[in-house]
Symmetry: C5
């Protein structure tokens, strides 16, 4: 159940603003990439210090700084200082177990969202397990810049980078709020991919539950259920984040962008919708599992009962004439043996008819 | 479970405003029909280019353009340009996996709704499957026109066309908002037809579950449940759409029309109401299924137990006197055989009385 | 499941304002009764045309027109014309599958409520079935008149008529809003009667489920459940209707009447309250049913197991000494037979003690 | 299920203001006690007519009239007349099946609450049944007086009387609103007592369900559940009553009293809280019951299977060598008998090992 | 079930303001520690009378008085008098069964929260039991001071004390509202620790339920469930408390502190979130338990059926040729014995094939 929460007991009672990364230790250095653009030009490069970023920011261009890795407190501190970010904001960037949320620091909008990725790992019993992992993505929107933080180097934002380079659509003509929209959009689109995997898995499971249920199936249903719980915890709060954004209270989000955010909001609703349908279906799988098992037991019982009920009286009859009394007249009848066979066949037939009438086979 | 979501992974990270149709490719050309009317006259024809439509629009008449097929991006683009529609609106028209929704672009009202159709297809196991399909219908309401988009050519709007031609009721005397009402009304009426089919199917299933439950029945219950989930996803949001419309915030909807929209809203509530009743009933079917199976197993067990319990001691007695000890005095009693029969009949009777008292048969 | 919805597919796409009655065709003529009263006098008669009613309406007296039967469109049309009723109102009167609702047409208040009646019909399996039927009652409140529409001639309003005739309480001194209150009150009181029948039936069912559950019981529980769903669909919306009325937005409802309406509202809440308690109890019955069946199966299993487990080893021993080997020394022991009996009694005692310790009997 | 509702069919269609008592007929006379006090003095006595009460009411002192018994309409009418109470208020006092509620008649505040009492009665099956009874307590708060109505003479208010006599706390220094608070407080404290009994009973039941479940246990769980439903119907509405009171809309409730009412409100929340926890626990008992029964059946099955599976093949072997063929060579082997014993022991051992490996015993 | 409520029947009808401690009697004396600090200096000491505390309070410094033990009414009374606390506040401090809540006495803010601690105690059946205990912590925030009350001497606030001593972060530079924040923060962090223990336990239980379910497991699941109910009752109301605090209605909470309180609020939401996930998972465990038991029973049944069904007909055949009729021709066939063996082997094989086809083993 570890995927449902991060351990954080180590942090009890610490002063706020502590920027030590929570989670597995990482060795690779933090990687900072910079894109500075306006409608005419695009300056893209990898930088080593945050100062470089700060220099090229200007009121007339949009600067997007992407930071892969949040495990180096010194980098975070530097950024916080240069860009005037609240210490609690930085703490939330570093502690990557946040729920998606929006915090409005007036001239900074801080958005936490989570990427989902699905993998199938082999479990202890030689089966496959369906596992959902999630990575925290923090985004800071300022008047002329967007800063994104990822836990790992990843290619999730590549489609946006491509659109910036190729100047597709109006992305280069619009401000950092539109860039924020574009980044949110790819994250939400990622959820659809995850849902498709869920759908395939759910279909497989349903087939299995109906055709050939085993305790392994049960375990898979349980994992699926848990993965859906986890996904819900990722998507529901994002819906609220977007809802707040489209209400338009922040002056950092301009009106023409809101209609686009509303579109992302619609997508989130759709994700929630499909997710809830999956939850209902998966919830029903357990009931079907129980029904199928019950059904099979019933069938097994019928076979046993039919066999036992037919042969038990016959065996009794055979037993009677196996007794060694001195004086069993039937034993000496000339056709006695055949009479007994006749009785036994008769008894058997009556039983069979009875079961046939009860539609037991 | 495919009916619960469309695959859209191909779309990740695309710029908004992409008008490529999502869904199975289609070959047939897009068909555009035009109705232009006021109280006195009605001009109905099929057109080939959108320019023809645009020409005949005027402030004093109502123009209804119906477009069958949303798979041709060039047509959509042309319409968008001529009628000044937002690119996100066009995108939603083309991507036919929208939830019902209303978007207010001030001088344009964009409504998405979904037609439902039920079919029974043969499934793998030679049974019949109950399947609900849904088709997206987009409607754009402007000051003097209504544009409707359907995925397939269909006759769902024919009753409205007839009323326009025959000038029945006041439809010809009122504006495009009343036309919108009439179109919404036929869509909601269509839901009642679907509900009737659900009702018949549910009744059949209930009979089957109580009389003769099989794993096939279980599968049918599951499909019914899923179909209801899908239907709910279609109807609930439409209710919200109508609720927004009757609040009367948009100046495109005039006051006299609102009382009619309220009527459609009432119908939607009624659909929701019946749907939820069905959901409760179908949810109960599984429990009844389990009970029935349990009951049958109980009956099977009783038969087995009665038979085994009566004959097992009798067979034991027969076994005892089948032993070959040199010295079994009973064997040599003159009436020994009949005594044993007496004992066996006695034992059998006692057992029968015991079971009768327990009301096992 | 027919009681859960009316078939209305025939109505698709019709223009609003269609007054053809939905439901089984009726032959009997529409019956119109009129009561015109003020504090001093009461004029009660049966009329044939609606014009007669219209004539005797005056600003200083209250007129109550009761119409039994809504299947004659011409009557409805006439009333609509004379009293200036909206066509959608008339349509809702004629289509008797409405949910309880209130519609405010400013100088007319339109209230739909439903009478419930319970009957026990014989079902296919020679059992009795508990069935709830509901009849739509429409009420139009105007400044000086109240019009009520019933589907069938019925005596539900008789207590109010009696109070009017006997001038009991202040009913004759107050306006049409107080009359509306009195009519609503008898309808809600009718729900209590229905609830009492439910209570008796539920008690019987509970007894049956615990004492002697059969598949017939299960069917009864299911019917009870459905009847409660149906009742809820009747009562919940009425609660909302009353809630709107006591908010006092309509000028047709005078302040002194509101305190009485609040009383009816309280009664409705109480009906809802009791209904929900019943729903919980009936929902629990299925679980008890399953438990009882489970329990009985357990008991059956125990009997089988005790019998089989005791006699199977004994029969085996008897079988061993029934073998025909040349050389079974025990067979020739002088007390061999009695030794074997000793062993068999011992084995049986041990088994019995074991089961006793397990508390199986 | 009678405790869930009062029969009231007799009341249909009666004019409002009917003061006939609903419920079992009572013979004992109505008892009226009066306490008239201010900070300095306390006048306590039993009176026979309501006029006596009315006389000693004054603007500077607080008068508390307690009336035991609401079955005498003439007393109620007299009080109503003297103290100017609305007829619907008096009706609700007399009809003792009200839900807790607050009604604000501007210069009168009418509060209905319900006392709970728990008793264990012997049921039909020689067991004990847990039953909750409730008694309606009506309270009218006026500017200088409080009137309380109880169905039966009872000592529930004795602690308040004692505090008044002993002038403990500030009760004598404050107005009738504080007295109302004190009375509400003892009623809510009474709920805690009931909850404690519930807790004891629930604990007992849980033990029983896990250790030794019988159908009697099931019945007890069901009764417990019903008692909790009934209690919820008593407590939830009282919470709303208190919520309205602490909002402070009525001028009859002075500000310093509100903080005390907030305290009672907190207690009510706590009662609700504990009650809901109980409901969850009791709801879980049924599931545990089913699990325990299932578990036991499993154990029974295992014993049966182990015994049958071991002895059935052995009995078969013995049967084979009990056949009377002329020509069974094994029968004549010198050690044949012992060989067969060897085989039988071997088969038995293999079976035992198999079951041991499956951990069946 | 005792952990779900405190017994409080002894308190019925007492006047408010009674400061006698509820709960087990305690002997140890109340311990009072004082911290008085501003940015420059920190005065920490243990005091014996409350007067000492009162003396050193000043407008320019923050005073934190921590009181271990609430069982001495005289201490509480003294504090109440010196610091002008409402009698109901003091009563709630003494009666340690409060729900978390916030009460605003304008110049005093009274916060109740509850610490959780988990312990594993040995239960009656030699197993371990998972038990959650909770301790009430009361906090009074004044303009220049914070007073905390704990039931037992405990080290929960030690991290805050350390931060004060080491002047870590800005805690020494800010007011008593920030101190309140810091104290709330350690309490909420404590919940995460409890959740981790829950997570470990839940994981263990899940493993056990799937691998080796026993009635002991069932009991543990039940305890886990109850512990989660209890935890929810502790955390949910705290969330509401924090929600009220960050709304900023009280002038005792300065604006810069609110952003920190929002952070604690976020943590609480996260606790709730994880808790609800656990609840869903644990709720599912019972279903899996039932499935696993069902599965096992099915397996047991199959073994029984396979064995019985194969050998019952064979034993019958052997019985037939054990009969002692004078005239059984087969007995005298030279190869009769071997023919019978042949038939028996054949019957056995057919059965085996049948079961194999049914995939029973």
């Amino acid at each position: 159940m570890e995927e449902l929460f991060h351990r954080r007991s180590a942090r009890i009672g610490q002063a706020p603003g502590n920027l030590n990364h929570m989670g597995p230790a990482r060795a690779e250095p933090v990687r900072i990439t910079l894109m500075n653009y306006d409608a005419e030009r695009l300056d893209e490069r990898e930088v080593t210090t945050i100062d470089e970023c700060h220099e090229c920011m200007s009121a007339s261009s949009v600067t997007w700084v992407n930071i892969d890795g949040v495990h180096d407190p010194s980098v975070l501190e530097k950024i916080g200082e240069k860009l005037n970010l609240h210490q609690l904001l930085l703490e939330d960037v570093a502690h990557t177990d946040q729920r998606p949320k929006l915090e409005d620091f007036e001239d900074r909008l801080y958005i936490v969202m989570r990427m989902l990725s699905v993998s199938r790992v082999e479990d202890d019993n030689d089966g496959e397990e369906f596992r959902v992992a999630s990575e925290q993505i923090s985004l800071v929107l300022g008047p002329t810049f967007v800063i994104t933080f990822q836990e790992d180097a990843g290619d999730v934002f590549d489609p946006v980078r491509r659109r910036l380079r190729e100047s597709k659509g109006k992305i280069r003509k619009m401000g950092p709020d539109y860039l924020t929209y574009a980044l949110l959009d790819v994250v939400v689109d990622n959820y659809f991919t995850v849902l498709e995997l869920f759908g395939d898995q759910a279909e497989e499971l349903e087939e299995e539950v109906m055709e050939n249920p085993s305790s392994e199936t049960l375990r898979d249903v349980q994992h699926m259920k848990r993965a859906l719980i986890q996904m819900r915890r990722t998507v529901w709060p994002l819906r609220d984040v977007l809802n707040v954004m489209i209400r338009g209270d922040s002056k950092l989000i301009r009106k023409p962008t809101i209609v686009f955010l509303r579109d992302v909001y619609d997508h989130t609703i759709r994700v929630v919708d499909i997710m809830e349908s999956f939850r209902e279906m998966v919830g029903g799988l357990l009931e079907i599992y129980l029904s199928t098992v019950s059904n099979r037991m019933n069938e097994v019982m019928k076979v046993l009962t039919v066999m036992a009920t037919i042969f038990i009286p016959l065996t009794f009859i055979a037993g009677v004439y196996g007794m060694n009394f001195d004086n069993i007249p039937e034993l000496h009848w000339p056709w006695g043996y055949w009479y007994v066979w006749g009785i036994m066949v008769l008894v058997g037939m009556v039983m069979l008819l009875y079961f046939r009438r009860k539609r037991w086979f």
